[in-house]
Amino acid sequence: MYSSARKTIIEPMYFKKAPDLTGADITDEKLFMNRRAFIAKASAAGVGGALVAGGVFARNDRDMRVVSDEVLSGLDDDLTPWETVTGYNNFYEFGTGKEDPARNAQGFKTDNWEVKVDGEVEEERTWNLEELIDGFEVEERIYRHRCVEGWSMVVPWNGFPLKSLIERLKPTTQANYVEFTTLLDNRRMPGQLSPVLPWPYVEGLRMDEALNPLTLMVTGVYGKTLPPQNGAPIRLIVPWKYGFKGGKSIVRIRFTKRQPRTTWNEAIPREYGFYANVNPEVNHPRWSQATERRLGEFFRRETLMFNGYEEEVGSMYADMDLRKYY
C-alpha cells in the first residue's frame, strides 16, 4: 500500500497499531536521497563505525537502512539529524554540558555487560546482556523526545518493547513498579565524581506504564548500535514522558511493591515528579511547558499532551490529578 514509483518508505511492519506513523505523509524521493547521503556521511566520518566496534553487539547491514522520515503529527516533524541526536545529550554521568557526553563517553566499554534482575521476581539473578535480550526482534520506532528543559527531538530508535523483556523476567504478582539503575562507576563515568546528582541514577515506572506497548528498551539509534553518550548498551525510552525518565546504561532492573525513589525527584522534588508525563498544562515551577523548541528550529512549537501519545497512554491516567502527580 505504501509503494509507488515516487515514494519510498520502509514499512513499519513492527507497528501493530502504528501510533504515529500514518501513510499520509510519506517521504518523497528527494528527502530519501538526502537522508541516505546524510547517513552515509555520518558513517564515513567514522562516528558510527567506531561505536559499532566498541558495542556489545554490532548491528548488521541495517546501518545503511533509511528510516522513514514520516511525520508524526504534522509536516514539520523531520527527524533530528544524527549529529544532534548523538552530540546534544543530557547524561550527567559524563558531564553536565550538552556536549560533554559525546566527548567524555568516547571509549566507554560495554563488553561483558551484565544486568542484575531482582526484587519481586520469580528468580533473582544476573543476566549477561546478550542472553537478556536474545531473540527479541529489534524494531525501529520514530518517537518524539521531549526534555523537561523545553527542547525536543525526533529520534529513530532501535529496540524492543519492555513488555517482552518483562515477560521473560517473570515478575511476581507483588510487582507494582519496575526500577532501572544506571551503572555506578566513576572511573568509567567521570561525571559521577561530581555530586551534582545522588548517584547512581535511578528511574522507575508503574507496571502498567512499563507494559505499555510504546515503552521501549533501546539498543540502537539511526540503525546503529547505541552510542555511549546515548546510554549504551541498553536504555529505556518512554516517549510520553520527559526524557529524564529514560534511564541509560542500565545495570539493574528491580521489581518493587512500592514506588521506587527516582533520582531527579530526590534531587529537586518540587520540580521533578515520579510521573513526569509530558503535559503542556502542567508547568515546571520555573518555566512553562506549553511550548518547546525542536532542536535546530528558531521558533517554539506547541507541546502536545502526553507528547502526542494521548490516544495510546491517556487512559492509564484517566482518574489521576496530573497536577498533583506531575
Binding site: 549529529e83 544532534t84 527542547w151 529537586i268 508547568n283 518555566w287 523548541r293
Partner: protein, 215 residues
C-alpha cells in the same frame, strides 16, 4: 609602540586607539556568533550548533554580563592607576553591555514568544528568573538614554550619578537571572557572582573619601 608621557595632551592619541580596540573587542562576540550559526564556525571553530537559539541567548546574556563587569571595573581601575581619562571609556563599554542585553532580550521576545506581548508579560510575571532579567534590562534603558554628555549637563552630575548607580542593581539582577535559570549546575553563574563580589569589594576599597572630595 608610542611612548606615553603622562599628561592630558599626550593621552589623546592612545585613547583613540583604545577606543578602536574597544569597538573591535566588543563586536567580536557578535561576529563569532554569526560565524558559528551561519558559517558553521568556519572562522571561529566550534562544531555543529544543535540549538542555535540556546547559543544566541547564552552568548548574548553572558556577553552582556561580562561587558557590564568591565564597565564596573573602570572606576576602580582609574582610581588605582590615576589615569583619569579612563572615565571616557565607560560610556562606549556600558553601551555595548546594553547592546548585548538588548540582543538577548530581543531573541527572547522573538524566538520564545514571537512578539506576543501578552505571553511575554505573563512569563515575566510568573517566573522570577525571567522577572529579574527583564528588570535588569529595563533598568539599563534610562542609563543608556542618559549616557551622553548632553544629558549629564541637563540632569546635573549629582542626579545623573544617582541614576547611574542602578548599574549595581543591574549587575546583581543579571547574576541572579543566570543563577535561577540553570537546572542544577550552578558553578558557572556562581563564578560570575564571585567576580562581581570582587569588583564590588575593589570599588569599595578604592572609594573616594568624603572629606577629600573637592567642594
Amino acid at each position: 609602540m608610542a611612548r606615553f608621557r603622562f599628561g592630558p595632551m599626550r593621552w589623546t592619541k592612545p585613547m583613540r586607539w583604545i577606543k578602536v580596540a574597544i569597538w573591535l573587542a566588543a563586536l567580536l562576540p557578535l561576529l563569532i556568533l554569526v560565524d558559528r550559526i551561519f558559517l558553521f564556525g568556519r572562522f571561529s571553530g566550534g562544531g555543529f550548533v544543535d540549538d542555535p537559539v540556546e547559543l544566541i541567548q547564552h552568548w548574548t546574556g553572558t556577553g552582556a554580563l561580562v561587558i557590564l563587569f568591565v564597565t564596573l571595573s573602570i572606576t576602580p581601575l582609574r582610581r588605582l592607576s590615576g589615569y583619569n581619562k579612563l572615565t571616557t571609556l565607560r560610556r562606549p563599554i556600558g553601551l555595548f553591555a546594553f547592546f548585548y542585553a538588548t540582543l538577548h532580550v530581543l531573541s527572547y521576545f522573538v524566538f520564545d514568544h514571537r512578539l506576543n506581548f501578552g505571553a511575554i508579560l505573563q512569563d515575566v510575571a510568573e517566573h522570577n528568573w525571567v522577572l529579574v532579567g527583564f528588570a535588569a534590562w529595563v533598568l539599563l534603558i534610562p542609563m543608556a538614554v542618559t549616557s551622553t554628555s548632553g544629558w549629564i549637563r541637563r540632569m546635573g552630575g549629582k542626579k545623573w550619578t544617582r541614576l547611574h548607580r542602578s548599574i549595581y542593581a543591574v549587575a546583581v539582577l543579571g547574576v541572579l537571572h543566570f543563577l535561577w535559570q540553570v537546572k542544577l549546575e550552578t558553578s558557572e553563574p556562581l563564578i560570575y557572582g564571585a567576580i562581581l563580589l570582587v569588583i564590588f569589594a575593589v570599588r569599595f576599597l578604592t572609594r573616594k573619601k568624603k572629606l577629600s572630595r573637592p567642594a
